[in-house]
């Protein structure tokens, strides 16, 4: 897992290794699973509409399957340029 911007700040780490159970099939499932494990994750993930994700460094919707990805990133909507 990698986190950016205020998601990273609320969770308190920039990255972590996780091993979700088999029933965690999508990125949204993963977010639910992480939120249930710690208050800081729950705080970071409280508003799903403000979360975006990338799977192996490519933007995907939150309902995308994990599909054996090595790296999932969760972050706020981007504000570059």
């Amino acid at each position: 897992m990698v986190y950016f911007a205020w998601v990273r700040e609320r969770i308190g780490v920039a990255e972590e290794e996780v091993s979700p159970p088999a029933e965690v099939a999508t990125i949204a499932d993963l977010i639910d699973w992480l939120a249930a494990r710690s208050p800081s994750h729950a705080a970071a993930f409280a508003d799903r509409d403000r979360l975006r994700a990338a799977r192996d460094q490519v933007f995907v919707p939150l309902d995308a399957p994990l599909a054996g990805a090595g790296e999932i990133a969760i972050f706020p909507p981007v504000t570059g340029g």
């Binding site: 990338a54 460094q57 933007f59 972050f75 706020p76 981007v78 504000t79 570059g80 340029g81």
Partner: protein
């Protein structure tokens, strides 16, 4: 040719222009984004997703080159802390004629704002705050998706 760079160093416009003008075309359109001197903001810090950022910018540049038959596309984005008035981003499109260069330049900056993983954090007297996305930016990017 595609040139994409993400760096904490200040953007050297003269060097970027020279490279863009060296492409085989009769037109170069460019856009420069600066740190806006908003009230009370002393510093702007750009965070990004190393690896994914370069990948997203390269994909955008490739799409622009294919769509407008460009001779070249440049995207340079600064990251880290910067001050009001400093350059954040520079894009250039080199083409045979101006219409393609101008359209491709607008495409590059509009889509960069929604498709590349950068986040702006403003430093103000009370601490810092993350910049919220603007609906107008989503609308500007969407007009290129048809």
């Amino acid at each position: 040719m595609i040139r994409v760079r993400v760096s904490s160093a200040p953007i050297d416009i003269a060097a970027e222009m020279e490279a863009a003008e060296a492409e085989e075309g009769g037109a170069v359109a460019t856009f420069t984004g600066l740190v806006r001197p908003d009230d009370g903001v002393s510093e702007l810090t750009l965070e990004h997703y190393p690896g994914a950022t370069e990948r997203a910018l390269e994909a955008l540049a490739r799409e622009a080159v294919a769509r407008w038959s460009l001779a070249g596309a440049t995207i340079v984005h600064r990251v880290g802390p910067m001050r009001p008035g400093e350059r954040i981003v520079f894009v250039a499109a080199s083409a045979v004629h101006r219409a393609a260069a101008l359209q491709a330049c607008a495409f590059l900056i509009d889509r960069l704002k929604t498709d590349a993983p950068f986040w702006k954090r403003e430093t103000v007297e009370a601490g810092h705050r993350w910049v919220e996305p603007r609906a107008a930016d989503d609308a500007a990017a969407d007009r290129w998706r048809s």
